[in-house]
Amino acid sequence: MGKYILRRLAGIIPLLFGISLLSFAVINLAPGKPVALENSLNPRVSARALERLEKLYELDKPVYERYWHWLKRTAALDFGRSFSDNRPVIEKIAERLPVTIIINLLSLFLIFAAAIPLGVRCALRPDGMLDKVMTAAMFFLFAIPTFWLALLLMNFFGINLRWLPVSGITSLNYEYLSPVEKVIDLLRHLLLPVTVSSLGGIAAMARYMRSSMIEALAQPYIRMARAKGLTERSVLYKHAFRNAVMPLVTIMGLSLPGLVGGSVIFESVFAIPGAGRLFYEAVMMRDYPLIMAEVVIVSILTMTANLLADVSYAWIDPRLRDKR
């Protein structure tokens, strides 16, 4: 196990290198000097900001030297100061990141909690009522622009019915609430964003779970288990389910970038003060140090989560550790 983890850790070095190259490439994306181009195109960037940009990225130096300096600073988590309010970028991100991480974790939890039972039920009776409904729902959810769905739901529950708050994560009177009320208030605010951001994932995961479970049920060891006279319950949950659920961990890891990317949209729609919204604001303001820092941090976090998924997979399934 330790060996496996070490090997995986070694595997992330080229990945990190790639991430850094790609992020750095984005800075240098604009043809010619990025600074000169922005100057002509974008009145939002003041002359002073340009000067700072020029200094921050040392645009007068050759590319390899700039890359090396940028890499050193990035490794020390020094992303410079924000153009908009001159605070260190890392500080701004640090105060916004927890909200985003919590929402994404809640979504992940909801996806697993809903998709696994749904998928198993569908697999037990393929082409049954539930299976048909799920297939239709899957098509529906795959095709619907989620931000639009978010808007409609927000309008319906928040404005027409007035059941749920439509923006932010706390009410105005949050400070004066008792601890229990605080939790309820938070949950009420998070209910819609978390639900909407999980819907697509639930549909997709339930499909994977379904096919994985059907495949597992067709294996010889299931017939063997049945022949031994085990109860149906034990056959399903001890033998089929355990094998079927494992690939889901990997698939979940692969779908993480999409979930995280979605944060930008959801946090903007629901006005949630998270890292996604911060990124959106940074893009709108052309706050370059903030943009770059977010890209680097978010991709490293996503990569780490992916790694965790793989390691936990290997931890559950010993067969995997010994393979390549």
Binding site: A143, P145, N155, V260, I265, F279
Partner: protein, 248 residues
């Protein structure tokens, strides 16, 4: 839908940018089939013109990504070894980036013109087709017909293009059709955030943004563009499903 997009000038009852101060926020009626928006512009006309933008962004972006995918996938699959290892590492890197962040960052540094958006979406989504082509080529390159082509003196390029790729066409087409749907969604998401197609050019995404302000009073401005995206995606999914069935 594609036909409607091509024939936009003929079909649209009004000019998409025409502002009619007299009929602001009209509900759907016989004069304006799908109503008008907050500047008195006809929603149906804007939808039809928007279809042009949204569909062309989707199709061209996927064209770019498929082309890149084919090139990288072929190289990777055919030559194997260190070329393969390098390209697959690149794919891994691209896959662990939340593409949406990357796209937004690129838009911030460049400019959000329709052209740039097509290229950016194309550049960030070639990994799927690349993996697909690679797998296909690895499966095919040892087969007899490739040996035969080599024996008759065909070069590597010719073998890849003439003998192997045609066999990979089917799955690639299915993948591309699905990807168009994805790209349309992506474009609408970008435009929705105000970072995609810029108003006054109508795209389905930015029509939704404009609708946000009047959500409570004018449901039609929100429902119809959203419905158009929904139908387009469903359409592409069904086409993909159809091709897959056709291929057996």
């Amino acid at each position: 839908m594609a036909l409607a997009a091509l024939a936009a000038p003929l079909l649209s009852p009004y000019q998409p940018a025409q502002i009619d101060a007299g009929s602001i926020l009209c509900a759907p009626s016989s004069a304006h089939f799908l109503g008008t928006d907050s500047l008195g512009r006809d929603v149906l006309s804007r939808l039809i013109y928007g279809a042009r933008i949204s569909l062309s962004v989707g199709i061209i972006a996927v064209g770019i990504s498929t082309l890149l995918g084919v090139v990288f996938g072929s190289l990777s699959g055919f030559y194997g070894g260190s070329v393969d290892a390098f390209i697959m590492r690149c794919v891994d890197v691209m896959l662990c980036f939340p593409a949406f962040f990357l796209i937004l960052a690129a838009v911030a540094f460049l400019d959000s013109s329709i052209f740039n958006i097509m290229i950016i979406i194309g550049l960030t989504s070639w990994m799927g087709p690349a993996r697909l082509v690679r797998a296909e080529i690895m499966a095919l390159k040892e087969r007899e017909f490739v040996e035969a082509a080599r024996a008759s003196g065909a070069g590597n390029l010719r073998i890849i293009v003439r003998h192997i790729l045609p066999n990979a066409c089917g799955p690639l087409l299915v993948n591309a059709t699905l990807a168009v749907a994805g790209a349309i969604l992506l474009e609408s998401g970008l435009s929705f955030l105000g970072l995609g197609v810029q108003p006054p050019v109508p795209s389905w995404g930015n029509m939704l943004t404009e609708a946000k302000a009047t959500l409570g009073v004018a449901w039609w401005i929100t429902v119809f563009p959203g419905g158009a995206i929904f139908l387009a995606i469903i359409g592409f999914n069904f086409i993909a499903e159809g091709i897959r069935k056709e291929l057996g």
